[in-house]
Symmetry: C2
Subunit: 102 residues, 2 copies
DNA sequence: TAAATGATACGACGATCATCGAACTTTGTG
DNA sequence: CACAAAGTTCGATGATCGTCGTATCATTTA
């Protein structure tokens, strides 16, 4: 049961660029890209508050960058790399290349 | 005599992505990329006001995307494609590919 | 010198943003 | 049932944003 998200064809470039323009969100995306298995939201960006993290994940999800689904008490996240790569080839690669995961 | 702008090494990814997240600015960048010779600011995005255009060009210049210099009563603009490509390879190409100049 | 041209400066406006804390919901577990 | 864990919701706050109109400045030209 996946949460609502835009279809691949509806992913808007302005929304994607705006979502990636925030360092915290870019860090989350970089961590998602580097991790093999999906991880719960709480394991990302521990320096910020829970509510702020919820906000950032919603922005990422509504922009089409991230897919989310519930699993127990956690909410798992996955980078929609295939969709983004198909719609905006090279964009995510170039951004990730300049975004350290640390 | 060129107006103040960040050096290549100081171009910030957040600023670049934020600058490109606005459709009007992306359109200006696309037009700049498509035009061979530099053009005055006034020849871009005729649908918006002069003051708004000035604002957009300042955002683009401070982000490092555009270089500007005065020439008579006009202000000319040039896309800093070499600098952006060197600092964030592939980024501008992928964005321009999805941004129609029309 | 006076007029015209091209762009900037200065508020101002509503909108959106990132962040927070406190209260709440949902799910799993003793 | 009671408790804990993980997220969400709901204001609220201060900041920034895109846009505008008007006034102003700099430069060229008549």
């Amino acid at each position: 049961m996946t949460l609502e998200r835009p279809d691949r064809d509806e992913i808007d470039l302005s929304a994607v660029l705006h979502a990636l323009s925030d360092p915290q969100r870019r860090r989350i995306v970089a961590e998602l890209a580097a991790s093999e298995v999906p991880r719960p939201c709480g394991s990302f960006a521990p320096a910020i508050t829970k509510s702020t993290r919820t906000h950032h994940f919603r922005v990422l999800r509504e922009a089409g960058l991230v897919e989310q689904w519930k699993e127990g008490t956690s909410k798992m996240s996955r980078l929609r790399r295939d969709d983004i790569d198909a719609r905006y080839p090279g964009l995510l690669d170039s951004v990730l290349e300049s975004t350290p995961v640390g």
